[in-house]
């Protein structure tokens, strides 16, 4: 079969869709995209999900898949950062507000957001609403149901940026699950300058 199946962490989905559109336009390669929280996708891969490539939102998950024998090789493709929706970082200290984040259990962006909220200066009584991934956290804020949301900067270019030193690094790695010709060619294109430029434009930092 000539279809390429890619699983992608929720934060990177919109960016990857742009990249894929360009690739399909160029090569005619058909690509199926599934997005969810990094943990969710990893779990699916462990139980036989037929993905060729998985773009995670952290470094640890791809490495786990490789050591479980499901992945072949891993590689960094971007570094993410956080942004606050609904106010400036000072409002995080206000009591009684509700804050949406990705589920720390499954989403690296949720874990990073927890690092921020755990800082002593933001200790306040608040309602923590957890979306199943960072996209849902954004959607909760968007629908007006919560006051604040901590999401990927790439999702909310206009939001207040959160200093990277407030949380653990968001080094995003991909893992190759099946080494097909189509996957190899796609991987090559992903490393190209064109794509790197697109990733930069979307609000990600280059890999170290």
């Amino acid at each position: 079969e000539d279809v390429l199946r890619i699983a992608v962490a929720a934060n990177f989905r919109a960016t990857l869709e742009q990249i894929n559109t360009a690739y399909t336009h160029k090569t005619g390669q058909k690509i199926l995209l599934s997005s969810a929280a990094t943990g969710t996708l990893a779990n699916q891969v462990l139980h036989g999900a037929p993905f060729d490539l998985f773009l995670a939102a952290d470094k640890a998950t791809p490495e786990q898949l490789v050591s479980a024998g499901k992945g072949l090789l891993t590689r960094c493709y971007a570094v993410g950062s956080l942004a606050l929706l609904g106010g400036n970082p000072d409002t995080l200290a206000t009591a009684g507000l509700s804050v949406a984040i990705g589920n720390p259990a499954t989403a690296p962006y949720g874990r990073a957001a927890m690092d921020v909220l755990d800082r002593p200066e933001f200790a306040a009584r608040r309602t923590l609403v957890r979306g199943s991934n960072v996209l849902q956290a954004y959607q909760f804020w968007y629908s007006g149901a919560v006051d604040l949301a901590i999401v990927a900067r790439a999702l909310a270019p206009g939001a207040y940026p959160i200093p990277p030193q407030w949380h653990r690094p968001l080094t995003q790695h991909l893992v190759v699950l099946r080494q097909t010709d189509a996957a190899r060619a796609y991987l090559q294109w992903l490393g190209s300058d064109t794509v790197r430029q697109m990733i930069d434009n979307a609000g990600y930092l280059p890999c170290p």
Binding site: A37, A105, T127, R130, S132
Partner: protein, 228 residues
């Protein structure tokens, strides 16, 4: 194998949600089912279709519209804020509202079909003996359809315990407030805590199976006594 405090929290919250929802459903569902069973107009067919809608709609559709409807700047959300002084979205109350809507057909349909299959003559006999409609309902309809009330209540309860999609969308996975069993289990599975997931799931399976077995064993003799 004792349960952890977090697990107890989840179980308690789930039981509370299911119990509150079931009580509300029986109170609302019984007269509604009665009305649907005894009327037969286009209007009642429409209401019947509305009641059945949650059966057909993906929970995501319901959750999506509920999310919009319950937000603090929505009319419902604002009214709630004014009346109770608390936020409705991502609260226990929101889950109750969602569950009541979602499980409504599970309570109304068995009751309605029980009411409909009641032989007309029995109620007529009660009426000739001086029983008012309410009295007929209490003294004839209710006891004869007792089994269906048990079915309706257990379906309503069970379906609320099992509710996932709506709560995923309007719950926000807040421990102690909206993190019910189905969500907690999803969490454990996704984070590869399989041992804990097994424990919760197996516990639920055994408990449900025992409960259901008990209900069905109780539920009386078969309709036919002899083979034909």
């Amino acid at each position: 194998m004792p349960l952890s405090p977090a697990e107890l929290d989840v179980i308690g919250l789930t039981a509370a949600l299911a119990a509150v929802t079931t009580v509300i459903l029986l109170v609302l569902g019984t007269p509604l089912a009665w009305w649907l069973a005894t009327r037969r107009t286009n209007m009642s067919a429409l209401v019947e279709a509305l009641v059945a809608l949650p059966l057909v709609l993906p929970p995501t559709v319901l959750g999506f519209y509920l999310l919009l409807a319950l937000a603090p700047d929505s009319p419902v959300g604002m009214l709630w804020q004014q009346l109770t002084g608390t936020r409705l979205a991502f609260s226990f109350s929101a889950l109750v509202i969602g569950s009541v809507i979602y499980s409504l057909p599970f309570v109304v349909q068995p009751l309605q079909s029980a009411f409909q299959s009641l032989p007309a003559g029995t109620r007529q006999a009660a009426a000739t003996l001086g029983a008012s409609p309410w009295d007929q309902f209490r003294s004839v309809v209710l006891p004869i359809s007792r089994r269906s009330f048990i079915t309706a209540a257990s379906l309503g309860f069970a379906h609320t315990v099992g509710e996932f999609g709506v709560i995923l969308m309007i719950g926000g996975n807040i421990p102690g407030e909206t993190q019910v069993l189905s969500i907690a289990l999803y969490d454990r599975v996704e984070t590869l805590q399989f041992a804990e997931a097994h424990r919760m799931a197996a516990g639920l399976v055994v408990f449900s199976l025992a409960l259901l077995f008990f209900i069905y064993r109780q539920s009386g003799a078969s309709a036919w006594r002899v083979r034909t």
